[in-house]
């Protein structure tokens, strides 16, 4: 995905008054580790609650799938369609509220760039570890092969400490370690 598309996705929601932080594969792409074909965006809990009203009545949105934790919108941009995955931070926020998590990411784990506010890769890996899907562990492993920094896992653990989700993340880290043994043979 081109950075212009990421920017367009952010601008679209910001134009509706949303507070937005870029997460997911777009962050890894911007950091030079792989690429993505969709844009994952964190929004505040109240903004997440008004997605239906905003997305369903905008002619530049060609398709919408609303969900409890993630909603997907396809945005028409020129002759192309951009897939935006909008995430409710409450799903990942552990002992904190979704908005506390959003603010924490915004204040401590993101920075403003030309495409919009970009989360630290540690946030991306935290969400991948939190979701507990094996394929997300593979994605972390693949990112590492593309030059991602192992220290980002320390950041993910720091975020888990703040949110009180350390135990959940620790189990996934153990599985990730097991995966490294499988995928990094003698070569």
């Amino acid at each position: 995905m081109r950075p212009a598309h990421i920017r367009a996705a952010v601008k679209f929601l910001e134009g509706k008054g949303f507070d937005v932080v870029i997460v997911g594969g777009a962050v890894m792409q911007l950091r030079g580790s792989g690429s993505t074909e969709d844009v994952d965006l964190f929004v505040t809990v109240s903004d997440y609650g008004r997605l239906e009203e905003v997305l369903l009545h905008d002619t530049s949105v060609v398709d919408v799938k609303l969900g409890d934790e993630t909603s997907v919108a396809y945005l028409k941009l020129g002759g192309e369609k951009i897939r935006i995955d909008i995430l409710d931070p409450s799903y990942f926020s552990g002992e904190k509220t979704g908005d506390e998590f959003f603010d924490y990411v915004k204040r401590h784990w993101s920075k403003e760039e030309t495409v919009g506010r970009v989360a630290d890769p540690a946030v991306v890996w935290y969400t991948r570890l939190f979701v507990k899907k094996e394929a997300y562990l593979d994605r972390i492993d693949i990112d590492l092969g593309q030059g991602a920094k192992i220290e980002w896992l320390d950041g993910a653990q720091e975020i888990a400490n703040y949110l009180g989700t350390k135990e959940r993340i620790r189990e996934q880290l153990r599985r990730l370690d097991e995966l490294f043994k499988v995928t990094r043979g003698p070569d």
Binding site: S35, D38, Y74, I142, T183
Partner: protein, 188 residues
């Protein structure tokens, strides 16, 4: 004792272009000038390949042509025997069987992709089943010792007889991965 590999350029063999050759310091007991090959651009790799050096630049463009859109830093595929004699700014991916280079088949590219992005390798296979030589992929996976990576993404779904080694991703998750990629294709 350490094995040392280098290129030599005899009078009768002018195939290796001078611009990609890096002379090694001449040792007194070695009258023949030894070279290493330095490949820092696609053009360099093309020159080397033209001179039958077993190297290949594996990049996003190659993968996109096989129907999988994913950008990554280019990798230099190089045979194990020559790996130490080739210098490059590209990350080297070593092939045990140098015969596959410099003209890799689809199956060789799947093996390379397994080393870079196994989830992508599965999608490459899924999208190109018509041109897949299952026997060759089976052989290549075994020779290149990437069986755990192939098993992880269940390439045995497409290659009968491919042994399974190590834990595989749950089918439900692979179905989701497959569906995600296909839905993106339908949009384009």
């Amino acid at each position: 004792m350490k094995t040392s590999v280098a290129f030599v350029r005899s009078d009768s063999d002018r195939r290796l272009p001078r611009e990609i050759l890096v002379p090694e310091a001449k040792a007194s007991h070695r009258p023949v000038q030894r070279f290493r090959v330095r490949l820092d651009s696609k053009a360099d790799v093309d020159k080397a390949a033209k001179a039958h050096v077993p190297v290949y630049l594996f990049d996003s463009e190659v993968v996109a042509k096989l129907g999988y859109s994913w950008s990554f830093k280019p990798k230099l595929l190089v045979s194990r025997e020559l790996a130490d004699a080739v210098e490059s700014r590209f990350q080297k991916l070593v092939f045990h069987d140098g015969e596959a280079l410099p003209n890799p088949t689809f199956e060789d590219l799947v093996v390379a992709m397994l080393k870079v992005n196994r989830l992508g390798a599965r999608q490459m296979v899924r999208k190109n089943l018509g041109q897949l030589d299952r026997n060759r992929l089976l052989e290549r996976v075994l020779v290149e010792k990437v069986l755990p990576l192939a098993s992880r993404v269940r390439l045995d779904d497409f290659v009968p007889g491919l042994p399974v080694s190590g834990p595989a991703l749950p089918r439900s998750e692979l179905r989701r991965e497959d569906a995600m990629v296909y839905s993106r294709n339908l949009e384009s």
